[in-house]
Symmetry: C2
Subunit: 323 residues, 2 copies
């Protein structure tokens, strides 16, 4: 009998969540541990493996598990290693996939970064079922992407393809990015980017705004959303400007891979039409004629609470051995 | 016995060239006809089929031909049709692949656009042999591209992917493009783009230049090259600016698909280091850290006179029936 379950592990800078998932995308058993608690990566993997061992046994044991998928910052599909991830406590090249497999009866493990995992999750369980060509854009603390072409995730020759948060959208006088360059899409369209836009607007413009009641340094994308749904003009303009920036960038992405859909995921996607309408407008206005009206703009169909585990788990169906 | 030859057809706005090609990329027999002579597309296809019939018989007959590949402006891989190509005399949707197959004993025919054909040619016979991930950039009258990911050409969901000459490199005050938009890479980095840059430089700057002896309206990229190799400062600066623009764009392409190489082809590529050095410099300076030093910048290894036929012919090895 085909093994009926996979394990998904999502490593974040703060927490690591994991679960046993069936072929329909139901999370049967799940758990979490603190990522940042351990100074030493093997202590972390030991604790994680013990916690996963429990859910595997709850699900009926190791015979039921086809594979394990890991979504991790800078996780490399080809090597199964995390390579110099800025927001993890351990440095250098960490062979996470192998370390986890060794501690869990050598179940095959596949790893990739979180945005790629989200794309595979969407293709396996979500809005991209049946699609062969789409781009997943994750609008969170940063802007990530997972690109699917011809039904396969694009890893590139080195496993690091799909860094669309770091295409340059402002060539001159662009905002400083955490990557050390200037003008990256992420500096405008991430949760921190949109908060930065809010501070700029509040400084430059003079109208009243609900946002003026807040400490500018702690404004969040949620605050801007709350103001926008109350028809606050500045907040609405911030969403419009952010959406336009994304739409312009998407028009260039379409020239590259002509996807059937671009799928939005993450915190900012929760703004719904406030963000999707200006994206759609700018995307259609900026796209080459031959692509007009062809690429759908849709939202992820995965529940955010489950999406991280589901995305990672979807990799487990194609898990392999790393050497 | 496996059929040993393919036929390649390259349709240009002025001439259509074709040839019988073996598995090593040797053109055994070739010929050409005028594309623009016939007001009616079936008259054109009739003449073309008769001319190809001759080279097929020279090569030993229809039994020797595995397939036919066509590279054509706006040629669509999925439909086998040319769809509204600006520089062909016939309008609308033309089922070229089927029309040619019908007139040549139903040999299977595959079609794509010229830049995609060039990429497949490079992968089959040229500098990209053995590569699974690369981007071909054709620097001709326009700027075209063929993107290969995981060993497959990227067609997108509609067959029109890979229009990298039309990514926007100047969001504000960009040059008008033939596509109706502003700031496309093609408006700067094509043969006509670089001539436009020359006219701007000659108008704005005051130094002497060999280019001042020429009528600005007829300056060609070849003129600029000729001046640059004589150390003409303005001509050198034009190549540097053009290369920088390309290098900046390439850095964004790398963030998308992380290719092993970017391959330059076409008239401007003949400028050699004059164009490749500033590209390389700007590409490395602008690329995200994780990609630095990884993507090679190389020139096509196909002779330009043969490349069009070879590129198209390479498609013939995977030719299929269109319905």
């Amino acid at each position: 009998m085909e093994k009926p379950y996979v394990v998904g592990i999502d490593m974040g800078g703060t927490n690591t969540v994991f679960g046993v998932v069936d072929a329909r995308g139901t999370i049967l058993y799940s758990g979490s541990i603190k990522t940042s608690k351990h100074a030493n990566v093997s202590d972390y993997v030991d604790e994680l493996a013990q916690a996963i061992d429990i859910v595997i046994k709850q699900a009926g044991g190791y015979d039921k598990i086809k594979g394990i998928g890991i979504g991790a910052p800078n996780g490399n599909y080809f090597s199964g290693c995390i390579e110099s991830a800025a927001n993890l406590p351990w440095k250098g090249r960490l062979p996470l996939a192998q370390m986890i497999s060794e501690r869990l009866e050598h179940i095959p493990v596949t790893m990739t970064n979180d945005a790629n995992a989200a794309a595979i999750g969407e293709m396996t369980y979500g809005a991209a079922r049946g699609m062969k060509d789409f781009i997943m854009i994750t609008l969170g603390t940063g802007v990530g992407s997972g690109i699917v072409i011809g039904g396969n995730l694009v890893y590139g020759h080195d496993g690091f393809a799909g860094e669309l948060g770091h295409v340059i959208v402002r060539r001159h006088n662009g905002r400083m990015c955490g990557c050390g360059r200037q003008g990256c899409l992420e500096t405008y369209a991430s949760a921190t980017g949109i908060a930065r836009t809010a501070r700029e607007y509040l400084e430059i413009r003079t109208e009243n705004s609900l946002l003026r009641a807040l400490d500018p340094d702690t404004i969040t994308s949620k605050d801007i959303y709350d103001a926008a749904i109350q028809n606050d003009k500045i907040a609405l303009d911030i969403f419009e400007a952010t959406g336009h920036m994304l739409g312009e960038a998407f028009a260039d992405f379409i020239a590259f891979s002509s996807p059937e859909a671009i799928i939005l995921f993450g915190g900012l996607a929760k703004a719904g039409k406030l963000i999707s309408e200006p994206i759609q407008e700018a995307m259609e206005r900026n796209v080459l004629d031959v692509f007009k009206g062809k690429t759908k703009l849709i939202f992820s169909q995965l529940k955010e609470a489950d999406a991280a585990i589901l995305g990672a788990s979807a990799l487990g169906w194609e898990a392999k051995e790393y050497n």
